[in-house]
Amino acid sequence: MKLLNSELLWLLPLVAVPVLIHILIRQRLPRVRWAAMTFLLRALRKNRRRLLLETILLLIVRTAIVAAIIFVVLRPVARAGWQWLSGQRQRTVSIIVLDDSASMAASDGIRTRMDRAVVRIEEYLDQLPAGSDVAVILAADPPVDVIRQPTRDMNYVREILSRLAPRDSTAVIEQAMSSAADRLREEKTPNREIVLVTDGQAAGWQEDDAKKREAFAKAGEVGEVFVLTVPPTPAGDAAVTDLTISGGPDALIPSLAATLWPTSINVRLTAFNTKETLETAIDLFVDGRKVTRRQVSVPPDQDLIVGFEHRFNSPGEHTVAARCDSDLYERNNQRSMLLKVRERINVLLVDGRPGPDPATSAGGFIRIALWPTDPQERESVPFFDVRTLSTGSLESVQIGNFPLIILADVPALPSTAIGQIKSAVREGSGLLIIAGSQVNASNLAAMFFEGGSGLLPVQLGPPIDLQPTDPPVGLALNEPLVPALSAFDDPILMQALSTVSFRTVRPVAFAQGKNVQTWARFTRGGAALVANTFGRGRVVYFGGSADRQGGEFPLSPAFVPFFQQLAFHLTFGQDEPQQPAGRALEWHPARTDGITLTYPDGTSVPAEAMVGEDPTTEQPRVLVPSAQRGGIYTLTYNDATGTPRQAKKAVNLPADEFDPAMLALAQLREKPSLAKTRIIGPDDSIRTALLTAKREAELSTTGIVILLILLAAELLLVKLFAPRQVDAQAMLKKAMGL
């Protein structure tokens, strides 16, 4: 037998109270000096046995009454077999954990798995004893309380269930089970149940990791755990499992969409669980408009990459979507992505030592590196349109209009320019700072440190200016290579870079910012290449020199790919074409007044309530904690000048939800995490399963009945032992013969 209120066990010694009172009363009696003691003793002797019996019986009954009260207060629970003692049906508190992941949208042609799940839940509700309470949690990340407080209103529960629809994200079963266990632990009732309703999708259940086992074990400690499965749906399915664009005109350039050339769009189609070639068609949509359709044949259980080419005529954000023909599992039939199509990247190169000869100016070689002109290989119009200015000419331009700003050996900038650079980077522009002979720790910190919250929160170490006879300083990239320098996977390029020698070096000694990363180091002196993020933009500092004064780097074969890759990283690196459903979405608008968010289904809501502070940058941020639907999310906001702008995010089905195939019941039963649960298959009777469950019954009612009986016994004994009433006067008269 267990006790629901075991924390009150300290009450047990109170059972001794009637005995203690009996003893204490005898200690503190009033005293009377009595003359007729002989007669009193005689009367006592005559009644000794009766009095003893009375005392013992009453003491027993009163002790039993106290024990019965404590018994009731402790709320004992009887196991199965002793339930008849409870005199009542076993009220249950149940928490239903519902797997509403994307795979639950798979259909059998008539009903989806979610529909079937709701039917099974309703069958379960019908089997619950009267007075039972039910709560519902969705197994999302984080778990979602659909009905937080357990309720007895089953009609309300049914109504809520009928309005549920699967999300596009994956289920996180273990979190929901843990949450359910924590809630259920607070319920003071003998019968507690957690009912997990799931389709047992193979991708989600294949891996039975420690977290799952721990979560189910925790749930099992609190109550009975049932797993309700739904009937399987046809497994064969075609899915669009990837949507990407290919690289640009140069192998060094990452996937890049531009108006200057057609963009290659690749759609990966996968046939899941098919035995025959799947015939289907793929439609390509750009900005919501279908641009082409292609019939394809997908071999059974294989992938097929289908390529499309599309020429974007205007720069800016464009949405691209690919959709295959409808089937029984719609959710994996479409993918979207967001493309930033560039026309040309305007680059502002601020030369700290301007001059007509690129060999002597600080930025001359950089300008050449950004787009080596070769009429045979590329179009004549350079992709990077570099405008070179000195520090004194910056008032003539709007710095915010440049997606890439490069500072080459710039020791100081006007404060207005610094402010404009800061705003531009926050809005998404990139900043490349290249050291030189004029740059030192103090002037760099004065421009960009800002107490550790500036564009480049680093401290430079002692400058190194070497003479020709001094041993040179080399450069080594950190392992593993960051994606921004992926070209240096090529051993020839890596070798070329490793042989470069620098004479003018401004290494980084100390980095304060949380997002600062070191990508390369000098062979002596400190960090050579440091990256940071600021708002939506990125900053890279290179401590070596990009001119002949600082060394031989401009002559190295590694020079062009090095700076081109950095330029692309700074310009396009923060592009996020798509992300999986279930993750958070963030925007960092310049202003947060009058913002609205449009969901994939077209619903628009004011988004002020979603505004908070980014913990890393301490700047305003719009946050959707978990995007549950696939499609395009659009934030409409005003920029710093008040011009309305839009920022989009593409959300897609996560890879775990591509394949709707379910594990067989037998396979589920083999999972260690489910070893101590009762798995109820789609064809199993819920009623039978619940009947055989270990249901317990609270014995409080029995305790109360026993208490009442004892109280009646006490009253009966008191009445039975009531003294005979005597009229002493009448007796005296009779004795006197009067």
Binding site: L29, P30, A35, A36, L40, L41, A43, P723
Partner: protein
Amino acid sequence: MAGRREERLTDRKYVVFDVLDHIASLEMRARDLVEGTMAGLQRSPYLGASSEFAQHRAYVPGDDTRHVDWKVYGRTERYYVRQFQEETNFVATFILDCSESMRYGSGKASKLDHACLLTASLSYLALRQSDAVSVALFDEDLIAFLPPRTSLGSLGVVASSLETVRPERGTRLETVVPVLVEMIGRRGIVVIISDLLDVSSPGGEDDTAGILRVIQRLRHQRHEVVVMHVLDPQELSFDFGGRIRFEGMESLPAAVAEPNKIRADYVDIIQKFVAETKMACAGTRSDYVLVNTAEPVDRLLVRYLTARGKIREGRR
């Protein structure tokens, strides 16, 4: 007279003038014939030349012819002689129980106080009648004995001796009475004022055996015996509540009891004791008076002496 009396007895605790005034009109007469030397209220067993005619008797040769009642002869032509009763005084001896058990009292006054008041009041009555009063105080032994006195002024002596009583010891009336019998001397009225508790020896003897022996001893000496059985109302009714530790007097043990639970049996026992004592007295032609200390002394004496007077009248 009354003024002089008050002047001498004012400070006496047991001389309560209200009570004395109330009983002043009463008489305490001997039920049986007693010997006496003074002219008092009591009857003499000797039928001689006295002013009071007693009865006729048939003449037998040898009777004094002066006592032949010739009027009766004239009527009946038979010879009858007249017999006369000689009135004389008596000695009232009050044997007062001063044992520890007499200290008990549920009200303001103890049984002993009540008994002393009773003794003083009856002494007054007897002295007023020119009868002699003698007082014996006892517990385990004879504490004090006042020889018979006849003057009314002796009441102060009686009263002051009562005030010296210290009830601290047990009771042994059976031991004391034989001594008293020698000291009392001539026939008189002996009034035993006691609660009669523990008079019998312990160990299961009949509660009344002891007092019966005492009475019989006194009756054997031709004394008239009055037993005034002094009991407290609580001793009679045992009307206590709750649970109490009763501590025995006269070396008896203590006991814890719930009076409610044993009251019926206790009352049975005490009533039986009273009834048996009364029966024992009746069997020896002694008077038995149950003195409930809740009843005022004067009322008790009025009731008793009036009834006693009526009985005496009935016997004549």
